[in-house]
């Protein structure tokens, strides 16, 4: 008796490519990343894709699985399969390099544009800042801090799809954590950066980022915080658009 198999359709080529069909043996506790790896190792070694840790820590294996952006290493086939098959493509809202490898540069460029890098206000000669875990700002930062920049929220975001200038949920979420970090020295510039064209005010609060985030974060709430902060600063005359 033949082993049970699944039909897998995988994007091949660049933006002008197309889906190719493969037949992969079905195994117990098989992840979508296992399926992609099987195709590369046993059917077509030219298949390009990206992965590293395989345990949901690095965020590099994010792909579109049956229309939904997912970490493929943490997605069991049984959970994602639809009509006996899988359709696996690169992350949406990003250029395709080849096959399942999306070009992450726009994502990280926007992260930089949102002033996502920490700017210290002290030197190593100064005493260490004392941050109480119960402070409101620290609680707000903690709620958003676990982002690993996998790009799933960016791929799921309707506003990114419609407005290429929009910074996206991850970059804005990162900016929100730093705005709540009293050790940071660049928050005036950061607030100006996240309220420029394509900034937090462009978010329509569809909450796809929250719905799809594998870390269970809520970037929409972070963006709402940025909007409140921006509105207050604008009305006080501290922010000149």
């Amino acid at each position: 008796m033949a082993a049970e198999t699944i039909e897998v359709s995988i994007w091949r080529g660049d933006a002008k490519g197309r889906y190719h069909d493969y037949e992969v043996p079905l195994r117990e506790n098989q992840t979508v990343l296992d399926v992609v790896t099987f195709v590369q190792r046993h059917i077509d070694p030219t298949l390009s894709y990206r992965f590293s840790c395989r345990v949901g820590m690095c965020g590099s294996c994010a792909m579109t699985v049956n229309g939904r952006p997912r970490w493929t290493c943490r997605t069991h086939v049984a959970k994602a399969i639809s009509r006996g098959g899988l359709r696996i493509g690169p992350l949406e809202n990003l250029p395709v390099i080849k096959d399942l490898a999306a070009d992450m540069r726009p994502f990280f460029d926007k992260w930089q544009r949102a002033r996502g890098a920490f700017v210290p206000s002290r030197t190593r000669a100064d005493p260490m800042a004392r941050i109480r875990p119960g402070e409101a700002a620290r609680i707000a930062a903690d709620a958003a801090i676990e982002c690993i920049n996998c790009g799933i929220c960016y791929a799921a975001c309707d506003t990114v799809r419609w407005n290429p200038a929009y910074l996206g949920p991850a970059a804005l979420n990162r900016a929100w954590t730093l705005l709540n970090d009293e050790r940071d020295a660049a928050n005036r510039e950061r607030l100006a950066a996240v309220t420029a064209s394509g900034g937090c005010q462009s978010c329509h609060s569809h909450q796809s980022c929250q719905e799809h985030c594998p870390q269970g974060l809520n970037p929409t709430a972070s963006i709402a915080g940025l909007k409140r902060r921006a509105m207050q600063a604008y009305l006080k005359g501290e922010l000149k658009p």
């Binding site: 506003t159 419609w162 407005n163 309220t195 005010q201 909007k227 921006a230 658009p241």
Partner: protein
């Protein structure tokens, strides 16, 4: 959308929220009490309160809708930012003129 437009859109929405509630309550009141057009005009003509109420409503709605439509056009259509600006401004001006004309018709003595 610039931050300035965002702030204007949110402020006009905040202003319209209570105005819409009062407006809907007035519609229910007028229909349940069976008020005729003459009854309504008798209450609104020469009324500074109703003139102020609906002028504020028209102003807020014109600004709010113009910004919203401008945003929809710039995101969902092939119009450029400049073209969306023009379309939104034209819509806002049209709503303002038509709305103020309607207010004048019911509050002018």
């Amino acid at each position: 959308m610039s931050l300035r437009l965002y702030v204007w859109q949110r402020l006009t929405a905040a202003l319209m929220a209570p105005l819409v509630i009062v407006h809907v309550a007035v519609i229910f009141y007028a229909s349940r009490k069976g008020l005729s057009a003459a009854d309504i005009l008798a209450r609104t003509r020469g009324s500074f309160m109703w003139a102020s109420f609906y002028c504020a409503f028209v102003l807020a709605a014109s600004v709010h809708a113009a910004i919203g439509v401008r945003e929809v056009c710039s995101e969902w259509s092939s119009l450029s930012e400049r073209q969306s600006d023009i379309l939104g401004t034209l819509l806002g001006c049209s709503l303002l003129v038509l709305g103020l004309r309607a207010v004048a018709a019911v509050v002018s003595p």
